[in-house]
Amino acid sequence: MSAAYDVVVAGAGIVGAACARTLAERGLKTALIDAGVVGGGATAAGMGHIVAMDDSPAQLALTSYSQRLWRELAPKLPDDVEFDACGTLWIASDDEEMAEVRRKRGVYASAGVASEILSAEMLAVEEPHLRPMAGALLVPGDAVLYPPCAAAWLTREAVRMGAKVLAPKRVTALGRERVKLEDGSELHAGRIVNACGADAAQLTPELPIRKRRGHLVITDRYPGFVRHQLVELGYLKSAHSVATDSVAFNVQPRRTGQLLIGSSREFGAEDATINHALLSAMVARTQAYLPEIGDLHAIRVWTGFRAATPDKLPLIGPWPEDESVFLATGHEGLGITTSLATAQLLASTILGEATEIDATPYFPARYAQTEGYTNGKASTADVPAAEKSHA
């Protein structure tokens, strides 16, 4: 059996679902394929934080663009997506971090992202359960949502606009305008989008993607215990240090009143088991900021895998090794945020149209092995030489 599409999107995580929706909306005959449940991979494992991040200018451009797209979409989102414009508070624990708050505010302002500095007193009023802190940067445009239902809604929208969903169907190979499925069938498509997250390299070998495992804890319902997504300013340092395992204080209030507690990052851990040493460090870090959180009841702890690239930017656009293959992966911890922007950049690139922000920093060409494609903009040199292993 064989079917022809303009585009086949492999992977119905939030990125693949967003791409399918936008491609269908732009009039392309689209299929979306997933081996399991829509939004059941890293999408289900993640926090669902819509956040403007400024680790690099390209990251800030993409996240702030996408944050805006989410805000525009918010009125259309169904209730089960649990969109909550609670904003992010970047917490400064000392004067040095307050200096960083001021710097960060300037950077955000230059990208058109609104933010507001909170003094220690103002922060204590906003978040009374926090240990006394130096202050914080409030980013009111940031938000929180429930990712699996967001992916499911994007998928329903794609279907409404004519896309076809094939799930559960496992893709075994893709390329040269063909997608092979485990059941032996084959699909034909002029363009194929690999949106398989941390598993993307299984279908497109040589992708510079590594799995970066994270742990999350969810609690029972404690409405009002925290009111904003709380992230330590040290997060930038710890979360973005590529080579080492790390934890950072990162707590999210769900609209249900539940709290999500993160975060940890580790390389070299390929299974879903809990690393209790890292979990302990994560909880200790959380209690250092929110002492009373220790008394709340945790319902579940789980792990998930982020698709990490060496330069911490996603891979969005054509894959130089195969004219029919496009990538939409490598979003690491920002896939929920950047899914909508990814879809816009990808669709415009496929259709040869202008993009709203410069798409070139995310082009996979920066990692291509083929002579002439390597643009030298990023190298793989900062990949850690030795992987840490965890029992």
Partner: protein, 91 residues
Amino acid sequence: MPETVRSIVLTINGAVATVAPGTTVAAAVAMAAAATRTSASGEPRGPLCGMGICFECRVTIDGVPHQRSCQILCAPGQRVTTAESGARGRR
């Protein structure tokens, strides 16, 4: 439990309740004719399993929310409040 203790006095939603030693908080709440909690969609709920599995019997005891009242015995001076609806956090 010393022989001399014949009854235990606690409060349920501010009202004084007197129960026999060995009474679970869930039973004391049921005797006071109160639902234990309010569900996510606002229904009153009472205990179901009686063995700490179903979480329907959650109440706030001495300010600590989400306690499984079927597995906790009444104690003198305990303050029990019911109808927690995803109860307000710590205070």
